[in-house]
Amino acid sequence: MNLDFDADDLRFRDEVREFFADGIPETWRTRVRAGLRLDPEDLIYYQRRLHARGWGAPTWPVEYGGTGWTPTQQYIFWSEAARADAPAQFHQGLELIGPIIFTYGTDEQKARYLPRILTLDDWWCQGYSEPGAGSDLAALRTRADRDGDDYVLNGQKMWTSYAHVASHVFVLARTSQEAKRQQGISLILVDMNTPGLRVQKIPTMDEKYHTNELFLDDVRVPVSNLLGEEGKGWGYGKVLLDRERMVSAATAIFLTQTVRGIRDAATRRRVGGVPLIETPGFATKLAQFEIEVIALQTMVLRLMDDAARGADSGPRGSMVKLRWSQLTQAGTALWVEALGPESAHFAPLGNGDGPAEDMPYALQGALYSRVTSIYGGSSEIQHNIIARRALGL
């Protein structure tokens, strides 16, 4: 047992570090550190730069244009990205639908969709949740009725993030009514330009545009847009949800960025002539946060080691999701605290000097962080999963 990287890994690390030595604009820094997504055009630029280097899909197999990296290499890549204040890649195509397409899709679907995910020419969004189906996703009611060679979709999706940006949406819809609710659900790929789709913004408390209602009104798509087998979509959906937890494992590595955001703010701000970072009260709080980040990162390393050995990590993914959301909430709150009274100055009125440094992003990140314990399986649901799967309760 050891924590050392071998010589190949170290060489790889240097290579990645060199890549990240430039090309990451400073204007991204505060948003990235606060856990906020960059604007779509920035994410597209970043994705294409990675793709040009052959690194567009760190978790995919080589045959589909991925890197084929070992879990250790993935870890190194993300650590270096985090170190350089690079953003997390947009995950809904890359980590959510991409892997389902290359696992269950037809050759035609693979050829058509996968390359465009790598370049972000196609931007995918996830149409799962509905007004009546959140934690209880199996309660979904959107229907896909067979009509000749088409499916006709009707229903309402909720919280469809980035539907206003996306070119495609992957939808879970009912293709038949079965006794068991999880049956008769299919996964269908839909072009966002299809007539009958309507996107309506959901304003959120962080004042950032992420998410939408998506209305489907006689949306007609060819049957060839079905992914995998009809009625088996729930199983694929579960694969997705598990992967989504792994996404937060990757995101956990990026928490070191938040540590730096806090540290910089607390170094800059002086309280009674002393930098805040040197006051024992604040220094120990930051230490506590950093210690918890180290604990989580070591959990992530163990998770990746399991993956390398093909071992089942059980619900450790849920544990990581749970702790990551708690830490991103705690970290951004501490950052806001470091800014002191100036964090009350969110949006400038008129033509003053503009906001203080780190504003509004640090506070926007703190607000946004509240949703991390709700989406992708809420913290309560993660507890249920751990209780059931790990403890047999």
């Binding site: 949740s129 009546g132 959140g134 934690s135 209880d136 309660a139 909720m158 919280w159 959901i202 304003p203 959120t204 408390m205 962080d206 004042e207 002086r270 309280v271 009674g272 002539g273 805040l276 009260g281 604040f282 806001v336 605290e337 002191g340 009274p341 100036e342 964090s343 009350a344 100055h345 969110f346 949006a347 400038p348 009125l349 008129g350 003053g352 000097d353 906001p355 506070l363 703190a366 607000l367 509240r370 949703v371 314990s373 709700i374 989406y375 809420s378 913290s379 309560e380 507890h383």
Partner: protein, 373 residues
Amino acid sequence: MDFAYSDEQQMLRDSVLRYGEEHWAAADRLKTLAAGPEMTKRRWAEMAELGWLMLPIAESDGGLGGSAADVMAVMEGVGRHLMAVPYVTSCVLVPALLEGSEAGAELLGEIGAGTAVAAAGFLEADSGYDLRHVTTRTVRHGEGWRLSGAKVHVEDGADADWFVVSARTAGADHESDGIGLFLIDRAAEGLAVDGSRAIDGHRHARLMLDDVAAIPVGDVEAATPVIEAAVDRAIAAQLAEAVGSMEAASEATLDHLRTRHQFGVAIGSFQVLQHRMVDMVVAGEEARSMAYHATLNLGRDPHTRTRAVSAGKVRVAESGVYVGQQAVQLHGGVGFSEELIVSHHLRRQMMLAQAFGNADHHRTRFARLGAGA
């Protein structure tokens, strides 16, 4: 001992609540805030007409001389209905700063009538939340005074007509002696007001003062005790506001637990959510108790008063943010939306938690005060 509101206070409380229901309905909040200061001004005029703006102002200053408990009765409703108005700053804090002063007499009349709004600025770039760390400089020109410096945060200052600011007349930057209070007209030459909106709809300011003409208030070398007592009154008022907001957020959440169904049952049937809901209500109880503790100690000696106010501030800040966060959490995705009122309660709680010093600042102040009497 008596923790009950008098009949009169109860009536006052009820009428503020009724007013809030009618004029600050949760369903209209976005529209109200979007309409900006004009709408707020209309609301302010209504509140003036109801006599609430002059309630905290001393009788000798032409106000109604309401007690701290009277103010509490008003503030519960302000919090419950998230009224984004400068009540605490203009009607509680500033009148306490100007009480009995010649300089402030006319302004206090206007504040009570709702024709002028005033805000107070103490904090500076290096001061943290310490009210005694004052570097804004003063120069005396015969009868007049001129101020230069910067105030980094003036609560509710963006739309104020007048500012009361602290400035140093003697001593070193951090000494408690040698601090004076000065009144500044918003239109004064050399004053730059940099306004910004907070996440809770309140509108604050930063002030840049460059040789600005200012009117001295009271003893210009000994204002610290006045400032600290006034800020403690403002804090106590905000504690009641926080309690009102917490209770409203808890009620909305309880309602949601009863009506939202997942997995074929009301989510309120999940034990983990029941227990969380109970913790929210316990936090509300604790916060209400602390609001009483702080408010009912306001009239005592400074040591007792500051201990009580800091204790209240710490506990209410923590409980308030907790309740706001859990209200959002238990609502699920909709809790995060602009549309639902719980997200507004969380934002207000986050801002209240740091107004006039965050929990760390007040824990430190409490610790430094030593043992209680």
